[in-house]
Structure formats: structure tokens, C-alpha cells
Subunit: 364 residues, 4 copies
């Protein structure tokens, strides 16, 4: 079986002739395109993403975000001071992957990003800083280092900075999927946030953030998680305990020395949102993961620690805040030189719900 997909479709190339030209002109006239001139591109032997594997340095991103804070106002119309991490292979679009948008968002001291809602699902992940509250359907949610915050599709949300220092964080959305598949709706809300309170815990957390305890007022399954925040304190403890349990000989880690949790919807046990999976991974010092590739694309952010990323065969030293993208069917591996903590999000729910998921691991 020829692995060279470029040969696919070539078998049918007819000889040039006046009749053929007339045929092709007819196709052109009636908006038709033959499969035989394009099969290899349309139906490759395996995914051949246009998106490229890529790494952005937090040390590059943050200064530019800060500079934009001085130069670009935030408010109604522009909505967010967010700068997309644009995959070079997907230019001119600002897509990180064909499904996922990733951006650094920046909010200056005392600023407000006004409320709106959209069909697109979104989350924030905080690699450093504090002082901003995201108001989700009127409920103020504190944002602190290590926290994952959700604003699922069609929930009103705005942000406000309660402090005299700016704050930056990572935004993740399914904008590219939404735009390419034509599913987006958008609606403006309040020009300010509807509640400037700054509680430690949102009302939804106070209702939902207990393991296995479900309020009787919330028995229906919800499309997205009713929990608006997953706090670093608990994520950190869950990962630490997995490694301690492993030390005690108890099966708890995902792989030896590799602790990992998936953020989940407590009403179903499934992913937090229909299109985006969020996870956190911790590797012990010295652990190297096997090379692996999956259908679907994902984005990682180095939260803390020392390590090396091997992305499509190229080695990159990782530092706090660095973001990298793994397109579909591109191999990756990680090597932890100290304890290495990473946040991870992907379009795996899309791939699984539509039964396109495949995985190969231990390739090398």
C-alpha cells in the first residue's frame, strides 16, 4: 500500500484534449470540481494538518500584552484586550488550531471588560497573578494563579480588575470551530459587570464545589459544568496525592511518575464543555513520557517547572507560561528535569463524540 498520498488521484489524470478542456470548462461553469484532481489532498492517508507545531514563549507574550495595555483601550465594541496565538500554518486566520483559539488576555488596573455572551465555549487559565474577577451570569468568580475558570456557551460574562496591578491570563475558546462550522451567536450584555463584589468563592462554587454532593436543586444534567472555577489548591492536592499513592504502591497515576486529572462536569462525569477538554498534568523529576500522537489538536501551557518538550521531533526547553500547540497526528513527548506541571486543553470531546478519535502511543 503506497504510503505516499501524493500519488492518490494521479491514477485518473486524463490526457489533455479539446474535449477534456470543454469538460473542465463545463465543470467551472456549473460549480463542479472533480475528485480526481484533488483526492490526495481531500482524503490523505492520515491527518496532514495545515496547522504547524509551534511554541510561544511567555517571555515574549507578556511584554507585548503589557504594551497593548498602554496603547489599546478596552471596552464595549472591542470587548476584550486579547491577543490570539495565531498558528503560522493557519494564516491569515488567528486560529491556534482548526478548532481552538488561545489568547493572552490583559486587564489593566481597575479596568472592566464588559459583559457579553456567545455560543462559543470559553475558559480562562491563570498562570500567574490575581485580582481579577470574572462575572458569570451575574456571579463574581475570583481568578487566581492555577485556577481554571469556565464561561460556557451562551453564559453572560465580563471581567473586572479590582487591584492596582494589571493581570494577564490565558483564554481558550472554540472560535475556529465555531467560525468554520458557522455556529456562532453573540449578544452584548451590560457595559460594566453586573456585580463588582469580590468574594473568595462564587455562589456557584458554594453550591457545587463538594465532591459527590449534588444539590437537589440541581439534579438535571447540564451541557457544561455548573462549576465556574476549579481551584489550584485542589488541583495541586489531587496531583500530589496521586504521586504519594504511587509511592505507596497504589495505582493512582496515569503512567509511572505521571499524575493527571481531567476537569469534569459533576452532573455527568464528562468533560467540562461540549467541545473542549481541560486537564492538568504533573511529571516527577526524571520522568519522560513516550512519544504519542492523537487525532485532534491540543494546546499546553507550562505552569511551573523544568523540562523539555519534544514536538514533532524537535526539542524545546520549557519555562513558566510557555504555550505550545500540538496539531492533529503530530507526535509529542515531555521530559521532566524537575517536577513539571502543565495545563492542557484540547478538542478531544469533538473527536470522541463524532467517533474520529485515534491514538498511537509508545511510537519510539
Amino acid at each position: 500500500m503506497p504510503e505516499d498520498h501524493d500519488s492518490v488521484a494521479h491514477g485518473m489524470q486524463p490526457e489533455d484534449s479539446p474535449e477534456l478542456r470543454a469538460l473542465y470548462a463545463g465543470f467551472e461553469k456549473y460549480s463542479m470540481k472533480p475528485l480526481w484532481t484533488q483526492l490526495g489532498d481531500l482524503m490523505p492517508m492520515h491527518p496532514k494538518p495545515q496547522a504547524v507545531p509551534y511554541l510561544w514563549r511567555w517571555s515574549d507574550l507578556l511584554p507585548l500584552a503589557e504594551a497593548s495595555g498602554d496603547l489599546v483601550p478596552v471596552g464595549r465594541g472591542g470587548e476584550r484586550r486579547a491577543i490570539g496565538l495565531a498558528n503560522p500554518g493557519l494564516a491569515p486566520h488567528a486560529y491556534c488550531t482548526p478548532t481552538l483559539w488561545a489568547a493572552i488576555q490583559y486587564l489593566g488596573p481597575r479596568e472592566t471588560a464588559p459583559e457579553h455572551r456567545h455560543a462559543q465555549n470559553a475558559f480562562r487559565f491563570v498562570v500567574e497573578g490575581e485580582g481579577v474577577w470574572t462575572v458569570v451570569n451575574g456571579d463574581p468568580v475570583r481568578m487566581s494563579r492555577g485556577d481554571l475558570l469556565l464561561t460556557p456557551g451562551w453564559q453572560f460574562h465580563g471581567h473586572h480588575n479590582d487591584r492596582d496591578a494589571p493581570m494577564a491570563w490565558l483564554d481558550g475558546l472554540d472560535i475556529p470551530f465555531s467560525q468554520q462550522m458557522d455556529v456562532g451567536f453573540f449578544e452584548f450584555g451590560s457595559d460594566r459587570v453586573t456585580d463588582y463584589a469580590t468574594p473568595d468563592y462564587s455562589r456557584a462554587e458554594r453550591l457545587w464545589a463538594y465532591p459527590g454532593l449534588r444539590p437537589l436543586s440541581g439534579l438535571a444534567e447540564t451541557v457544561a459544568s455548573p462549576l465556574p472555577a476549579y481551584r489550584w489548591e485542589l488541583t495541586d492536592r489531587a496531583l500530589a496525592e496521586q504521586l504519594l499513592l504511587e509511592d505507596e504502591g497504589v495505582p493512582a497515576t496515569w503512567a509511572p511518575g505521571h499524575a493527571a486529572i481531567r476537569f469534569s462536569n459533576p452532573t455527568t462525569g464528562g468533560d467540562v464543555m461540549p467541545t473542549i477538554r481541560c486537564e492538568f498534568h504533573r511529571l516527577r523529576e526524571g520522568v519522560a513520557t513516550p512519544e504519542r500522537r492523537d487525532v485532534g489538536s491540543s494546546v499546553w501551557q507550562c505552569f511551573e517547572g523544568d523540562g523539555v518538550l519534544v514536538l514533532n521531533g524537535t526539542r524545546h526547553k520549557l519555562a513558566r507560561g510557555d504555550v505550545f500547540v500540538v496539531p492533529s497526528w503530530i507526535t509529542w513527548a515531555l521530559e521532566a528535569e524537575g517536577q513539571l506541571d502543565l495545563f492542557h486543553f484540547s478538542d478531544a470531546p469533538v473527536m470522541e463524540r463524532l467517533h474520529f478519535m485515534r491514538t498511537e502511543t509508545g511510537l519510539t
Copy 2:
């Protein structure tokens, strides 16, 4: 439409005759029974349970359990020093309801109840005391006041008392269902518990007890909850927050002044076990619930507080530890004279999965 079901089937009673007697003798000979002699009993207008509404006083139960501690040994063969709360309507069986077994179990100082497993699903609820560990599949689980502990079907489990004081608690199982439906299997395990350690938290809690954080080593849905313990501290906090949120005008309680949580399986969001639902309810002082009746049976234990139970029209003052049973389609209501906390379990998952559930509320 005649509501008097006693008339059902009477319409077909044939006149006595030698031929009829011959017919009935034929039925007898060939193990046949006509519907027309029994329809009203077999197919009542609404559930007419043999089980009766009943209340057991903790002040009666506990001394008898203590006395049994002096007189009855615990160990292999007898397995558990448990005394069933036997519904008088279901004699001679020791069933609390047609589906549910409820018992007070008593373990003396330093005693061990040996390990075994069975297809029947079981839990323990601790109304008072501490010092016993239940060892579930080799994992020691602390039992303290207010905790719910699970030992789902076919998981090995034993108990040991690490203290010099005895301890008693409530056992709940689906033994009556299991026995009537012929689904039970049983297997002896170790004559002692396999791990006498007394950690504050079991290994499974350390792996699972984080809201919305799912270990990647535990992505498969499980029939029963992987969490072996639901701790009072969290149950109490969840209920308290519901009432505080209600005070703030946020929809959080099940009904005004009535906070409630359902213990759930974090891998599905559903009930903790396939046949038994467990909940905890807290009523504010002064709150009275509407009269209500449901298909299926349930058992409540008063955990703390002052209040009155109205069961099938009869009023009972409740005290700590009192247990009452609500058979199918029997009305009940609660009136809180101070804050009233109750643990509740039922066969509702059976009724819902088989689509027999019906509820009437606000009857009076």
C-alpha cells in the same frame, strides 16, 4: 370509575357448580390460578404496600444493640452483629421495606467483623460515635459521626474497632430486593480485616475526593461510586451554604428553608449505587414540608434537631437517631421545630430505571 379496588375481579365470580369445582380442581392439579379470584390484590388501583409506616426510637435500639454486644460474639459465620429493623407488615421477614434492609450494627471495643463480599449493595451511616474503620477492598475507611460510607456490590469489606469504646451505626442494604428477586451471591474473605491501619482518609478518598477533578487513571464509568466515604464536614458545609445562598436571594435550596443534597457517583453524576439513593436534608426552624407520596420505599434517620414527622397522618416527635420507614405511596411530611437534619435513603434508582416512579406532592 370505582376507586374501591375490592370490587375488581368480583365481576367474574361464576356460580358454584359441579363443573366449576371440577375446573378448579383441574387448575389445582396443573398449578394454575385464575386471575378472576385475585385481581384486586394483584393489580390494585394504587400501591397497597404490606409494609407499614413505622418508627424506631434510637433510645430503644441502642440499648438492645449494646446488650447484644455482651451476649453475642462477632466473627466468621455470623459475620456481623447487626439487628434488622423489621417492618411489622413484612413479617416473618426482617425486611424494612420490600427492597431495603436497615439495621443497627454494633462493634465492641477492639473487635473485628471479618471480610466478605456479596452482590448486595450496602452503606453505613454514622449517627454518633467514631473509632471504627471499614476496610473496602483493602482500603481502610474511617467512620465518624455524619459520614456516609459505601460498600457497593461485590466489594470485599470488613470492620474493625480501633478504640476501647464500642460503636454503633446504621447499615442499609438492598437485601430484601436481592432475596426476593434471587440475585444474591456471597463470598467469604479474610477472617480478619486485611489492613488495620487507621488513616484519616482512605486511599480512594485521596484519589477521588476533589470536586470535578477526575483522575486520568479513573476515566471509566463505574457502576457504583468510587468514593467510599462522604464526610460530614462537607455535607454540613454544603447544606449550610444552600441556606446562606437562600438568604442572599440565590436559588439554591430544594424548597424554601429546605436544603438537600444527593450523594452521587462522580463518574456519572448519578446515584451512588444502582439500587439505593442516599440524600441528606436540612430544614430551617419553622419549616414544614408539604405532604408528599412517592412510588417506592424509603428510610430516614433523624441526625439531629427538633421536629415532627407526619407519617400517614400520624404525628411523631423526632429525636436524634430515630429511624422511620415510608412505604410506597404512603404520605409523609416533616415539621422543623428547630433546625432539623435527616439522612435519607430509598430505592428510587430502581423505580426510575424501571420507569415506575410517580410522585404526588402538596396533597393537603
Copy 3:
């Protein structure tokens, strides 16, 4: 591991003493029953059904049903001239198994059995005869040899005989489950059937009886199948094709020489009703099934053919119409001496939904 469950619970029998008698008197007074006096019965090593394996001869059943036609009127109040096949082990109840009721129902020429509905799920299977229509929610459904007819829970139904000849058939319901679990509701309908038309196909069949074609007016999942009839012509063809495909070397049969279909709900692909599974089996001449036992109970009716049933080790020659019951965990096997066709129903959906199902096959 001791397989003799009689020893279970014996380990804790305390010595007789005045104190013990006082304790037991206290238990009696307060409606308590200790586990240690009954563990072996309550929690056997494996299911020990009270129901016994049993076979009823159609040649015994039919004459008695006919005799009842002369002696017993049918009409409002008695509702149905149905004679239950009462498992001798479950006396005094008319239960065939702990979950299932099976009866022979008889309707004389031109008679009507009036309409009613009940929470209990029901079906009819026709081993011989024709001429009766079951009217389900106002829709007349023809009953002919080999047909399976459904009247799921809470659907109004009555029967009328349009011919000058009587007709008898097999009724199957979940009455024993319903009665023991207290889930039954009943409501009278019309004293006559609401539509005396005698179409070949009911309206629901005309809407639903196309493989894989779902009306857009019927996109919601339904608890029970919307198809009221599964016609013999199609069942027969499906079974015949499985054997032909097997002859052609195509995997199609359940086991070599053993064709089988499960009647299913086209809105889900699952069982036709929440508590009852219905299947049809055809064995080629000479085929013997391996001995097998399952959790849960089932009932078979020999539809046609020559064969032997081996039930709990005892051999029975089968003839058309013979009905036999297989209680939980009792072994059975079939040997076909000619082509052997059998209708089968069971409580397997209950066992599967509550996760109690177990099966052992190829025991001997």
C-alpha cells in the same frame, strides 16, 4: 471457601441464657430481627430461588381454559379470563417467577374483554389461533399465530373476538415484581373496546413497522416500543435468513445452528419494555445448546417442533405450546430433534439495569 451456606450465620449463635432471652424479647418488642439468626437465608452463596423449575403442558392448559370459557363470564370487574401459571414454589401466589406472571387467556366467540390500563407492562404471544384484536390506546391490533403483541405500562387496552371460534394465547406481565415492589396503578377504561374495526395492520404498525425508518413525528425516545405488534412472518423470515447465512459461512446466528432475535424498541434499540425482554429462538435439527444459567428468571413457550428440554438436570420432551419456567441460576439446555422454535421472555432488563446480571455457560 465453604459452599454450604447453611453454615453461614451459625458462627454467632450465642448460648442460651436468661439475658439472651431478654434480649430476644426486646428485639421482638421493638420490631427488630438479628442478622445472625438468618444470614444464610438472607445472603446465600448464590441465588437459591423459592420458585421451582416447572413445565406446563399445553395439552393440559388448553382444555381447562376452554372449560373456563363455558363457566366463567368475562367483563368489567374480572376484566380478563386469564389463568395464571402458578409456580408451585411461590404458593400461595399465582406468580410464575418472582418478577413474571404468565397466563393462558381465553376469549370466546364474539366476546369482549373490556378496556383498562395499569402500570404493569404486558404482552401477548399467540401460539395458535386468530380472530382476536387487541385495542391499544384505541388502535386495533390483529392477533395471529406467532405474533408478539405489546401493551406496555399505562396504555389502555382491551380485546375482542371477531370470530365464531374461541381463541387462547399466552399473557406475560411483570405483576409479581409490581406487587412485591408496590408499584402498581390501575384504571378502568371503556366497558367495551373503543374501536371494533379489524384491520390487518394497526395504525402504529403502519407508522413504525419499517426497518430503520423513523417518522419525524416520532423522534423522542419512548420508554416502551411504539410498535404494538411483531409479526410472525418477519420473525420467521429473520430466523430463516440467519440459518441460510450461516450455511453461506456468514456470522449471523447466535451459536452454531442456533438462530435468535430479540424484539426491540426502534426508538432506542433496547428492550421492548423496561422490565421484560422478549426473544425468539430457532434451533436446527440436531443442535444441542450448552448448559447455562443466568441471574434472573425466564419463561419459554415451545412454538413448534421436536425437542428436549433439560431443566435443572431433568429431561422433558417438548410439544407445541408447552410452557416452562427457568428460575434464577437454574441450569437449562435444549436439544432439537427436529427444527425447534421457541418464544422466550425474561426479566433480564431488570437485572441488567440494576447491574445484577451474571451468566455461566458451557457448565457441563
Copy 4:
């Protein structure tokens, strides 16, 4: 709320300055793109598809397909003589919609299109002709007028024409989704079809094509329907019966005078494939549907009859074989001047599984 989405994002346009240019140069250097320069496009108020509503005439398509039959060989490499209906709004891609590929495929007398398989899901719909068999996983499936034939993802399939006349049909696949989302895999199979038999019914139909009868050898749920063919005879009868039932006053049609069926997977009751919904619609003479728009895209083919399509406000007279595409959130309506039969396929399963579906109906 401003409905003009063009204003979105304009609120943040900063004044030009050397610093801003430096900022934008930094963005460029580090593969970043600010949201504020593109928000309106990325997150429109409602779907603004690039795909345009479009109609292809069968009378244009068929002659060009025939001409290609003379000029273009079919065989290994090119795989299929298929000409895509390329949405002008999606040029240069040959996509009919962002998710769906539609093509006319043409096979000359006695020709073979070789076997292959791919992750993409595919079907064929036959608007006219006969004589070709599609061989699916080795099972020959007859293709005749009105039939829907499935070749779900990763099933080997080829076609061969057993007659002396050519045949053309409509191909539908999820190629655009697959290519944009990078999920495609492809594998060559036999250069010829593996079975040149020409049976009336495939083996899979003989096993599965009985309403509600599930082989015990096929109890597992399958991702795609196990039925490879949905025959016109049954589709036609189901639609005819819906209209007859409507005449009799029975709720059966989707809307007055509008019969419709959805092709479904008998193992689940759901869609035939994870990404593609297939339906057939029949309108009585004189019926006009209300204007409607949905999230997601769909393609219709006029199978037979007289009528008018109102697509995005423009009227088109329909003739046999005409194909039209309805992009996301574009309004459409149909008016039947005689009985009007249409085949319909869409990406609705994608939209529903990812919870992006919305519908507006009765707009005018």
C-alpha cells in the same frame, strides 16, 4: 443591542502611533493576532456563512458526468469518477458546505471502482438508474432508484456496474469537516471489488432489515447503522402511510401534508452515521412549509415531483435530480405544486452532539 456586527471590535481601535506600529510588529514577529482587529468576523451576531445558498440542475450535472465517463478513466489512484458540487462561496475548495461534500458519481458499463476505506463517512443516494452494486466490507449491496446506501467510516467499499448501461448517483460525505478538522485516514483495498455477485439483498440486509427484530449476534451498539441499504419500496410505503393516516385523522405526519422519515441506526434509534443525518420528505400537492432556518448546513435533492424552493428569499422551480444547499442559518421553504419528494442530508448530528443546534421556524 446593535444588530450590525460590523461595529463589533471597532470600539477598541487605537490611534495610530509609532508605539502601536511597534506593538503590531511584535505581534507579527511572535505569531500573535489581536482580537480587536477581527472580532466582528470571528464572533458574529449570528452565523454568517461563507458558503452560499446554491442550486445545481440535474440537467446540467448529468451530461457533464456522462462526458467525464468518456474522457476520464476510473481505477486505482483516482478511485472514483466523482465530481463535487463545489459551493462558490467556499472556493477554491470543492466543499458543498463546511462539513459536507456532495458529488455526482458516474460508473460506465461494466466498470469497477476499486475498494478502499477512509475515516470519512459516506452514503450514496440513487435518483435514477440501477445496475451497480456497492460492495461494503465484502458484502454486495444493490443500488436502485430511491435507495439510500451507507458506507460508514473505515468500512471497505468499492462499486461495480453489472450492466451495459452507465449509472450515476449522488455521493454524500463529511470530507470538508474531516479535512478542516484533520481527522482523515485512508487505506487502499482490493483493486477490484472482492465479490462480483449481484444479489437482490445484501447479507447485512438479510440479517438486519426487519423492524424491531435484532439478531442476538448483533446486540452491541454500533457507531453507524449496520443496515447498508434503505430501500425505496419501504421509504415510499412509510411516507404514503403517513399521509393516509393523516387522512384518517391520526397524528403521523411532521406537519400537515408533510410526511417525513429519518433514516436511523437500529442499534440505537439514532442517526445512521455520527456526522450525517439522512431524511426523506414528501409534501402533498398544495402544501407550503413555513420559512425556517437552522444552525448547520444541509443538502437536498429533488427526487420527484413539482414544486418551488424558496431559498434565502429567491424562488427556484425544482425538477427531478436538482440539488440545493442550505448553509447555516439561511432560510428556506418549499411549495409543492404536485406531490413533491425530496431526499435530505445534513450535519445535524454534529450540531446536536456538540450542543450548537438552534432552529427558528415560521419566520414569515
